[in-house]
């Protein structure tokens, strides 16, 4: 099963709809609540990063019998130092994101914590693709 979502940049009203849609689809399929929660957390963090840091993008979700692959793709500025970005507490989030309660620099470490596999492909000036795998 494959799901596609558009993620709009700086849209803090609708940010989270892609993750919500994915959570609903996994729930309908009867996946274990624990795995669903890990997927929801990881995808929401990734979706928010696309909204906050990259002017939006899109999400491709592929659900298999024993795992889900979530890909969040943006055409944003890219991440200059991935190792630094992965550190807890590192954040370049703008004030608008902080006003929404985000920007603690916890998102990427949290994605890693909740996923079975995560990879970041990023190119300065071109964008970032984050791929997350959650085993059920």
């Amino acid at each position: 099963m494959k799901l596609d979502f558009v993620i709009r940049g700086s849209d803090f009203i609708n940010a989270g709809e892609a993750s919500s849609g994915t959570k609903k689809a996994l729930t309908r399929l009867g996946i274990s609540p624990k795995a669903i929660k890990r997927a929801a957390i990881a995808m929401y963090e990734a979706e928010l990063n696309a909204v906050i840091h990259a002017g939006g993008g899109n999400a491709e979700v592929e659900i298999f019998s024993d795992h889900v692959q979530i890909r969040v793709i943006d055409n944003g500025p890219g991440i200059p130092d991935v190792e630094l970005a992965m550190q807890e507490g590192w954040s370049t989030a703008p004030d608008i994101a902080r006003e929404m309660g985000f920007g603690a620099g916890m998102g990427l470490p949290n994605i890693k914590k909740n996923s079975n596999d995560m990879s970041i492909e990023t190119e300065i000036g071109h964008g970032t693709t984050l791929t997350i795998m959650i085993r059920f």
Binding site: F12, A15, G16, S19, K37, I41, M100, A104, G105, P109
Partner: protein, 116 residues
């Protein structure tokens, strides 16, 4: 403690009820930083108290399976947010109490924090 009794302890107005107001609430968290809620708070039938009023508080609650969002200090979200909560089946209330007092009263009444 039953959700409806939590509301009474908090002197809260229920803005969005859920079908079952008798669900048992055992764990709560208080946070204005949604990043922290995403990273730490994680439990079932959880209640989240917050002073932050924006749609992402409801979205965060949805992702974390938080069943109840309590806005402290008398903050009342707009209709758009209340509709979102209704759509996500999340109970919303507003208490006139400040964060510290609201959390303290719930704790006195037997609600625990995560990991307690």
């Amino acid at each position: 403690m039953k959700l409806i009794d939590c509301a009474e302890v908090l002197q809260a107005e229920v803005l969005v009820p859920v079908a079952d107001m008798e669900i048992d609430i055992k764990v709560a968290c208080g946070a204005d930083l949604m990043s922290d809620v995403m990273a730490f708070a994680c439990s079932s039938n959880e209640m989240m108290l917050t002073g932050l009023v924006n749609p992402q508080t409801i979205r965060t609650a949805e992702m974390m399976d938080v069943k109840v969002v309590v806005f402290v200090r008398g903050k009342v979200p707009g209709d758009q947010m209340l509709d979102l909560a209704r759509d996500k089946n999340i109970c919303v209330m507003s208490t006139p109490l400040p964060m510290f007092t609201a959390c303290g009263l719930l704790h006195d009444a037997g609600i625990k924090g995560k990991g307690e």
